[in-house]
Symmetry: C2
Subunit: 231 residues, 2 copies
Amino acid sequence: MKEGPDITLLGSLIGDPARANMLTALMSGKALTASELAAEAGITLQTTSAHLGKLEGGGLIRQRKQGRHRYFTLADDDVGGLLETMMGLAAKKGHTRTRTGPRAPALRKARVCYNHLAGELGVQMYDSLLARGFLQEQADEDLLILSDQGRDFVADLGIDISPLNQSRRPLCKSCLDWSARRSHLAGSLGTALLEHFYHKGWAKRVEGQRIVEFSRPGEVSFQKLFPLIEC
Amino acid sequence: MKEGPDITLLGSLIGDPARANMLTALMSGKALTASELAAEAGITLQTTSAHLGKLEGGGLIRQRKQGRHRYFTLADDDVGGLLETMMGLAAKKGHTRTRTGPRAPALRKARVCYNHLAGELGVQMYDSLLARGFLQEQADEDLLILSDQGRDFVADLGIDISPLNQSRRPLCKSCLDWSARRSHLAGSLGTALLEHFYHKGWAKRVEGQRIVEFSRPGEVSFQKLFPLIEC
DNA sequence: TTCATGCTTCGACAATAGACGAAGTGTGTT
DNA sequence: AACACACTTCGTCTATTGTCGAAGCATGAA
């Protein structure tokens, strides 16, 4: 009768408070167990299980069994992107949560977006890579091209992109930021860079939050590596 | 307690079947009355009124009173963009409507996306404008720059962009396509161009559908105006 | 084997909210 | 003024579904 894709299922899945809490928790990129998600959403384990079943049925999350644990993650980058988009519109329309806590500034500065760096520092990194010609935007897609110089740049950091290139997941993608309404770097390279910052000890995750906290010397190094360049 | 914007309201608004029907109907870009939307969703007028109130409260739609009629439209381009994004993910995850009718190919070829042209022809137009340097993408936003040559190009078509420039609405924006997963042109210039095609008699809307039907000579003219150019 | 842990399934309850009939408001037409 | 039309508001009913307690499966440890 009617043509085209059906939005209803996606909407109703995201529309439930408990499920929305779980999804935003998973935006941290960490794989979480059912129990952790239950605590996050403030509901019992049985209810959580039902929700997880529905989310998986709708293709929003995936589960990996590992021993007697089951780890849940967002299904793919597209889901993360949709959630980020919705957060952007929600913020714009003034649908904010009960009270914007004192952590809001830290969250705007640097946070995890599913599995890569977002916030002001994320945007800065993106701009810097672009301005120096390491990354190039394409005309018609949100896929990005890593130039030869860019390849050298990440190689100097000690990041080997050859295994990343073989995976089906795109290497470089742009992702829109809800706070800044500007793009930052997603894709497997985005993930690798964030891992690099952790590994170098420049930054660490705040427990249970999406906030990424840079140490003082860590941020200095970051600023040196990704300087802001005027056009 | 919790930080950041709240997705729940948006999700639940979109998650109801009746409201989803109305919203997709409004994706046609036409301003519709409550009665028309009621017919579209297959519910009574009272129920429709309640839904419209909620949609307006959530910032998804706007109404303009005009005599004893009230015309409803999507609130802004962002809402259209979100719906298009969700359609993309829904299509990818296989959440299709009951039966994809025979009109699906026509819909993929050319359709209205809120108020501008989408589908294969929309993507072609976008690519052609970009390849000839009439449009330029920016590094960090989905806003586009209309070059001087581009300005001349649209002026030759008889489109006066000076009033468009004064409005708060952006002149050129890129919008992602659910069928092609590539960008097409949104913004007030996108709207003006679609109007131009209607006015020239190249294309017309299929009644009650999002399909844009090009006449044979109309498509020829379109192809001549927006040729595909190899990089 | 026995026990503990992590999660799922079943069944029942309760709250939400979507649906419509009936009546009310406001605007334009005659 | 009287009427028609477009829509809103009110009240009520119904169905959905989110919720939890209790029991049932797995997996790993003792």
